[in-house]
Symmetry: none
Subunit: 218 residues, 2 copies
Amino acid sequence: MVDDEPQILRALRVILASAGYEAVTAQTGEEALDQAAVRPPAAAIIDLVLPGIDGVEVSRALREWSDMPIIVLSAVGDEDAKVRALATGADDYVTKPFGPRELVARLEAALRRASPEPPEALIQADGLEIDLGARAVHRDGSEIHLTPIEFDLLRLLARNRGRLMTHRALLTEVWGPSYAEDTQVLRVHIANLRRKIEPDEGPRLIRTEPGVGYRFAA
Amino acid sequence: MVDDEPQILRALRVILASAGYEAVTAQTGEEALDQAAVRPPAAAIIDLVLPGIDGVEVSRALREWSDMPIIVLSAVGDEDAKVRALATGADDYVTKPFGPRELVARLEAALRRASPEPPEALIQADGLEIDLGARAVHRDGSEIHLTPIEFDLLRLLARNRGRLMTHRALLTEVWGPSYAEDTQVLRVHIANLRRKIEPDEGPRLIRTEPGVGYRFAA
DNA sequence: CGCCGACATCAAGATTCCGTGAAGATGCTT
DNA sequence: AAGCATCTTCACGGAATCTTGATGTCGGCG
């Protein structure tokens, strides 16, 4: 949120906090751009009139590198100002005074549009495809059925490709901290997983590091 | 564009035509939904007060199967009405009177946000046809009657073809967050749905992933 | 060469989870 | 008030999954 009047910022902060959002504030455009660069927010609410660079310029600068929803606030209902802000890249233009619930509703409508669903990764290795989003694994086009534990294990190993995962790390991640010492159960599930995903010939995808843990081929 | 006053429709048509858009008009919500189903427009501008079903209901019905940008027009600046419309799925809410250039600017801001490829309104899989707009399901030309919950379940699964939907995701989407743990009721409805839509032979359309959720065949 | 630790594999239980029929419960229509 | 459609809850057999114990294998080392 960017506004040169601390009073407005306080009010906005209360409104957003009660709707479950965390607010980061700035009083000038420069300050806002600096903060957004350091820690990009999910959305921006920008007052039109600011000392130094104005709200439209801030919007334009944000749009250079970000798709975040931008809502411009203003006391002026001038049509030219609205058109200019919206054409520049703002998603909405709200004139003061506004109701707090309306602002939240407009913010949420903009957020809904901006991020339908973050794309999930697709990991590939030696003919094996791991679709994290669909929770599915394929080899040569045909699906391989994995049980929940097997998939969790594979996902953990594949996300840390090339890195060595200790017995303890695998056990605490998949089974929980209370299983940290139970290497027996880990061995069984690794064996089951290997039977399903390993290629018939060639080097193994899951390598054993005796005494330490397992590693997914790089 | 949907409005019960022909005068407004004419004005809107001029505004949009001068901005380079082709406008299709309707005077009631039912008419609008019919036209949208036949030839889906790129966006919708809907008056809030309509004879019969109102603008918010039209928005909700469109959202059942479409992601098109929706702008709600209204003479009432009531905050409740705005919040309700925006929460239902509208992208913007413009109060009359409005400037023509502002409307076009808001429309273009909404279009800019819209996804390049619209989601399919008719899903087909193995002889099964799911018409999201009409909330109807057919197999081999004959209609299959589904209860509201069954249709919502099927729609959610079919929209995420191939992706695994967890119990929690299905329950929170269809029943609401408070039902997130009630897997029992989910099992019963999945069974009922399967009885109605599954082919007599061959692999199942809805596949069970024990301990995790369900998946609609890819 | 034999022992030992660590691992892989196999084969039962043990446990959890799922499918299904049927019996209330609810709400709407006639 | 009765009928109807729908949703929810319960009970139980069966299936899928997980765990556990036993056995076999391999390499290092005294």
